[in-house]
């Protein structure tokens, strides 16, 4: 069923996936991407090769993905890690949950911009989760992903998709440098995603 879903998602979004200086691998990774559409998590997950897909869990907002039966079903198929955005507890912070959820096998798909940005043009500032995640698990490969044109397939506030073509570019992994400050790291990470637009 997951395969059917991924084929439909890829066909609908006309997705072309490019691996630039990065190869598909089942090692533990955090794919971090710009957030443009509700379809982002689904299409990015669908675009990964099957063995990797089975080991990759998108991190998504609980309030959105638990709204109806269909979304709950899709979230279950994707093995999504649903994060409660409303009440975040100290000992159950999203980063803690992610680290617990991946153990030593799973990879994650995250959207560090948080909620989808309002304007289509610029990427929003990255939230600090990526930094803390990397600090606690320095062994994770942080893989930048640029998602192009998916916001036109299903813009914010729409429920019917338009089958345009989109492109997902996966770039070379990066790691937290020793002594790198939070703001420096987040800026570098954001730049890594943005750079993929012109590759």
């Amino acid at each position: 069923m997951a395969t059917v879903l991924s084929v439909i998602a890829k066909l609908l979004a006309g997705t072309n996936i490019r691996w630039v200086d990065c190869h598909p691998d089942t090692c533990q990774r955090v794919y971090f991407a710009n957030h443009t559409s509700h379809l982002d998590a689904l299409v990015l997950w669908s675009s990964l090769p099957r063995p990797i897909r089975a080991l990759t869990r998108p991190v998504a907002a609980r309030d959105y993905w638990e709204r109806d039966v269909f979304r709950r079903y899709v979230a279950a198929l994707l093995n999504a890690l649903l994060i409660d955005r409303q009440n975040i507890k100290v000992h159950a912070s999203p980063v803690e949950m992610m680290i617990r959820a991946i153990g030593d096998t799973y990879s994650l798909i995250v959207f560090p911009e948080g909620s989808r940005r309002k304007s289509d043009e610029e990427m929003g500032e990255f939230k600090s989760g990526l930094y803390y995640l990397s600090k606690k698990r320095p062994d994770l490969e942080l893989v930048p992903v640029f998602i192009d044109n998916l916001n036109r397939v299903l813009p914010r506030g729409e429920f019917l998709p338009v089958p345009l073509l989109s492109c997902i570019t996966i770039g070379p992994p990066l790691w937290l440098e020793t002594g790198e400050s939070k703001t420096d790291f987040l800026r570098r990470a954001k730049e890594a995603v943005r750079r993929l637009k012109d590759v």
């Binding site: 006309g14 072309n16 490019r18 289509d120 192009d148 044109n149 036109r152 813009p155 729409e158 019917l160 998709p161 338009v162 089958p163 345009l164 073509l165 989109s166 492109c167 570019t169």
Partner: protein, 392 residues
């Protein structure tokens, strides 16, 4: 490298299978043979050029040619496969091509958030509906020939207005309308060729075998009879009709050719028009027609291409219901409209700052690049054929 061997292996059983199909009479088979032979030669040429490490051709040009040849094999396969699946199968395949081309077109032209729902209807209502109507056949000609020019082109601006976003309103309406017109409406006339009831001005055929008792039929009587009993309509088809002062007799699809052959002929002429223009432009090209839009289209290439295409089109008259001079004229018009299509698409791409529709969103093969000339030529070829070579 393996392309050629795959092609050769694929053709043999295919031809044997094709031999069993009734549309595939001698002349169509000959035409198909000519096409396949040309393609095979083109493929060999590409392979030879590829083998030479230090050739005089530059890599970009070789890549262009290679892409073209591959696209032709694809086109040929689609045509043959579609025709094997009968009329509706061909319509379905062309519908798929249209859908993909429209995707590329709209992806290439930026739209605003307010256009989203309009686009939804364009993709999921108008595009399928057009091909469904074409697939239903010639009785629906009155509907499919106006569905997009009337209904869709009125619906689009109205639906955009409903979204409440007035910014660059005319531009946005035009973008979507033009996309639908070129990618869907125009191209849908190519498979519609298969459903024409063709007549010919050539002497011979049915007229020599049967005496014409009912004489030249008036148009109204003909169309009435077409819907009446089978026996009556058969009788009518064997008779001559008048069209624009010319005497027409039914084109025997059993002995003389087939609609499938005519579709092949049409696609072949369009593609040859492109190739000849390219070749003549490379050989003699000096004066660029519109340097701002496309630097490789020259007057020399255009005129050389037009002349060559006309000659080849005339020489292939036997596959069509046309006389030789009629075939020459049709080929010339087809080359001309094909050229117009290529130039128009260049202008659109230039406006968007891309050279290939395939590279806008990285890595997609540009379907639109391959079919732009086909899109422009199809409605004109269809309507001329329909006007002069079907009973009025």
């Amino acid at each position: 490298m393996s392309q050629l061997s795959v092609a050769v292996v694929g053709i043999e059983p295919l031809l044997m299978f094709l031999a069993g199909r009734d549309w595939l009479n001698v002349r169509t088979r000959w035409l198909l043979g000519v096409v396949l032979a040309t393609l095979a030669i083109a493929n060999v040429v590409v392979l030879v050029l590829k083998r030479q490490p230090e050739n005089s051709l530059n890599a970009a040009m070789l890549r262009t040619i290679n892409l073209r040849v591959r696209a032709w094999w694809m086109m040929c396969a689609i045509l043959v496969a579609g025709i094997l699946l009968d009329y509706r199968g061909t319509v379905l395949l062309f519908g798929g091509v249209s859908f993909w081309a429209l995707r590329e077109f709209v992806t290439m032209t930026p739209t605003r958030r307010g256009d989203h729902r309009t686009l939804f209807w364009v993709f999921f209502l108008f595009t399928p509906l057009q091909y469904v109507l074409v697939g239903l056949g010639r009785e629906f000609y009155g509907l499919y020939s106006i569905m997009i020019p009337v209904y869709a082109s009125l619906f689009i601006p109205a639906r955009i207005a409903l979204s409440g976003d007035y910014k660059r309103f005319l531009e946005r309406s035009a973008k979507i309308s033009v996309g639908l017109l070129i990618c869907v409406y125009a191209l849908s006339y190519a498979p519609a060729l298969l459903d024409l009831e063709l007549y010919t001005t050539r002497p011979g055929g049915a007229t020599s075998q049967e005496s014409i008792l009912n004489g030249p039929l008036v148009p109204a009587a003909q169309s009435e009879q077409a819907q009446s009993e089978q026996a009556q309509s058969e009788q009518a088809e064997s008779g001559q009709v008048q069209n624009a002062g010319r005497k027409l007799r039914p084109w025997s699809t059993a002995a003389e050719g087939s609609n499938a052959g005519l579709l092949f002929y049409f696609v072949l002429i369009v593609q040859l028009g492109d190739v000849f223009q390219y070749v003549w432009g490379k050989l003699l090209g000096r004066r660029v027609i519109a340097p701002e839009i496309n630097a490789s289209r020259t007057w020399e290439g255009f005129l050389g291409g037009l002349t060559s295409t006309t000659i080849v089109g005339a020489l292939l008259w036997w596959a069509t219901p046309f006389l030789m001079w009629e075939a020459a004229l049709m080929a010339a018009i087809t080359a001309l409209t094909g050229f117009a299509g290529g130039l128009t698409m260049s202008a659109i791409k230039r406006d968007r700052g891309v050279t290939d529709t395939g590279t806008l969103v990285q890595g997609h093969a540009g379907v639109l690049d391959r079919i732009d000339s086909l899109c422009f030529a199809a409605p004109v070829f269809f309507h001329l054929t329909s006007h002069f070579f079907t009973p009025k």
